[in-house]
């Protein structure tokens, strides 16, 4: 039977199959036989289409960078935009008071990014400081200490938390949490960095928890068993063996959580007060990058300096999260290599 040309080179088939069964290269798909075979036209078309689609992910990422960068470029290149919103105006103090102000609609417009940068960092730091200890401790608990029935309660609860849309978290923060926090601490401003930060931490906890738990379960059983065999208790094993071994994964979790916190929009838009205040106190309102874009993009005229500055902020956010993602995944790769090498 001669079907499709595959059996026409019989000797190669058997040697290929032999190599496949010995497991050295179990991917029959890389057989030169399959590539050489003429096959139906549909086979070729399918191959081209699929290869094309695969490149779509790369193309999209590049396109995002290109198109956001294209609209942000006039901040550097156009003389007109540079006058109102050039790099000096964006970052250095201005002559009139207050020195750093974000007031895009005054005459002349003020575009200092520093209050926004400070606001973003404040909220992100609060979120990360609250979320990471809680999430890592919870992950340690579920993977080392918790009995199986308790694990079955905690893990679904956190998956539920991951499924809550951020607009709902922002809504809850605005309606309920802001009031509680103000009653508890007696702040002047009800909507401030801590309110927004605590809402943000609710969004970050599931990410850090999942990655930390993956890191802990990736630690080979042999590590734990060896430690217990030498007389260490369970918590000593967890503290001295599991945590250090998975440190790269934990670092990746923190970095990815940080990246998510920086880019989150709806929670800060609803719960932070959106005041571009330059202050270090966490009890003051803040205005973050993402909330600024969301609040002001609707009112810009396409092509105005305000429009280009907003895209510049977007490009900045994109580059920042891109770098944090690269760092995070590189650390995960390192963790995997280290653990696989050891086991």
């Amino acid at each position: 039977m001669r079907a499709g040309g595959v059996l026409s080179d019989a000797p190669e088939v058997t040697s290929e199959a032999a190599r496949a069964t010995t497991g050295a290269d179990a991917r029959v798909t890389t057989s030169p036989l399959v590539r050489k075979s003429g096959g139906a036209v549909s086979d070729r078309i399918a191959a081209y289409l699929i290869r094309g689609c695969a490149c779509l992910a790369i193309v999209s990422l590049v396109l995002i960078f290109v198109f956001i960068g294209k609209e942000a470029l006039p901040v550097f290149t156009s003389g007109e935009v540079r006058q109102e919103a050039g790099m000096t105006r964006l970052f250095l103090p201005a002559a009139e008071k207050p020195a750093f102000a974000w007031q895009p609609v005054s005459e002349p417009p003020r575009y200092s990014l520093l209050p926004l940068l400070l606001g973003t960092l404040k909220v992100t730091l609060i979120a990360v400081v609250v979320a990471i200890p809680l999430a890592v401790a919870a992950a340690l608990f579920t993977s080392e200490f918790a009995p199986p029935w308790l694990r079955e309660i905690i893990k679904p609860a956190i998956e539920l938390l991951a499924g809550i849309p951020s607009v709902v978290i922002g809504f809850f923060c605005l309606m309920v949490v802001a009031g509680w926090l103000q009653q508890a601490f007696g702040w002047t401003f009800r909507l401030n960095a801590v309110t927004a930060g605590s809402g943000l931490s609710l969004a970050v906890i599931p990410i850090v928890y999942t990655m930390a738990e993956d890191a802990f379960t990736a630690v080979p059983r042999a590590f734990r068993e060896g430690s217990l065999a030498m007389g260490a208790s369970r918590w000593q094993t967890a503290w001295r063996i599991v945590l250090p071994a998975s440190s790269a994964g934990l670092l990746a979790a923190c970095v990815l959580g940080f990246g998510r916190a920086i880019g989150e929009t709806m929670i800060v838009l609803m719960a932070s007060g959106n005041a571009a205040v330059l202050s270090l106190s966490p009890a003051d309102s803040v205005r973050t990058f993402s909330a600024t874009i969301a609040a002001e993009l609707g009112e810009v005229v396409v092509g105005s300096s305000h429009y280009h500055v907003l895209f510049f902020i977007g490009a900045f956010l994109f580059v920042l999260t891109f770098l944090t993602n690269l760092a995070g995944h590189w650390w995960i790769g390192r963790l995997q290599r280290r653990l696989q090498g050891a086991s």
Binding site: I64, I158, W239, N325
Partner: protein
């Protein structure tokens, strides 16, 4: 017995105490997280459940959003999500197929694609909104208007098609990861058997691999839908509207969306106290939608895993 041991060996007593302390500390952290989840859900259910009724789900908003229902928002979310799925599932599955079936082993392209997918997953939602505005609406939409309609504004403005494409990009990583997991779970022997019987690569994929992978792909699609129904920032400027008197039936219509409706009612509704019950009820509907989708995906995934474990 333990007391005796403690007196005999004070070191181990301290160690046990420390162990309890550590275990309790991490246990408390878990308890805090779980309690927060319970509080959020409880607050929303308690405040919103009273308003939900068949009427609420099937009528349009009336009297300035203080009465009536949220049917247009449900329909709009549904249409958005259907369009998005039609785009993202073929693309995501094709990407996963390439990475797992077609690419030579250790290919650099696969590494780059994987990197791109991971980074796409980390891009903030508002940046997708900017991209949707800058690329889909300003570039492709305006271009279509110039070419097909001679300058009249048809596609160069917020529309459901652009919002769906933006969301498709946002959820592409979810689908790709789930599909890859599904493909990896199929035993290699299935493929080898098919090749040994003379099938071409595409035949193997179409007849053997894809039918087996449907469960995992479905999981990915459902998770993508759940994410797509909940994200607001990407659709704020690419198609969502506050009050539309019509349902989106054409590709260049705008649409109402549950998440955007929640945001807008919280900030722009005419009478905050009167709309509070409706607001909570809308939030509850959105939550129920995303949770039921997530739950379905988890069930399917669990069933696939148990079937595989039993099968091997």
């Amino acid at each position: 017995m333990t007391m005796y041991m403690a007196i005999r060996n004070p070191q181990s007593a301290v160690r046990n105490a420390a162990g309890w302390f550590f275990g309790t500390l991490t246990g408390i952290a878990s308890l805090i997280v779980v309690t927060m989840v319970v509080i959020i859900l409880g607050n929303i259910v308690v405040n919103g459940a009273g308003r939900i009724s068949w009427q609420f789900l099937t009528r349009t908003p009336e009297m300035g959003m203080t009465e009536g229902g949220i049917f247009p928002a449900i329909f709009g979310t549904f249409s958005l999500v259907v369009l998005m799925t039609l785009v993202v599932v073929p693309m995501g599955v094709a990407t996963a197929l390439y990475m797992h079936e077609y690419a030579p082993k250790r290919s650099r392209l696969v590494k780059v694609v994987r990197l791109a997918i991971q980074n796409l997953a980390g891009v903030p939602a508002i940046v997708f909104g900017l991209f949707g505005l800058g690329f889909f609406i300003q570039f492709i939409g305006r271009g279509m208007d110039q070419g097909l309609y001679g300058g009249d504004l048809h596609y160069g403005q917020p529309a459901i098609i652009w919002a769906a494409l933006t969301m498709a990009l946002l959820t592409l990583p979810t689908v790709v990861v789930a599909s890859e997991e599904a493909l990896r779970a199929i035993p290699q022997s299935y493929r080898e058997a098919a090749y040994a019987m003379g099938a071409t690569r595409w035949q193997v994929i179409r007849r053997v691999v894809l039918p087996q992978a449907v469960g995992g792909i479905l999981t990915g699609a459902i998770l993508a839908v759940s994410r797509g129904a909940g994200e607001v920032a990407p659709v704020m400027f690419t198609g969502a509207a506050y009050f539309l008197p019509y349902l989106p039936t054409r590709l260049n219509d705008q649409f109402m969306e549950l998440g955007y409706h929640v945001y807008v009612m919280t900030t722009q509704s005419p009478n905050v106290e009167e709309t509070k019950p409706i607001l909570y009820a809308t939030v509850l509907v959105l939550l129920l939608l995303t949770f039921s989708l997530n739950f379905t995906a988890i069930m399917i995934r669990a069933r696939i895993r148990s079937r595989l474990r039993a099968g091997r």
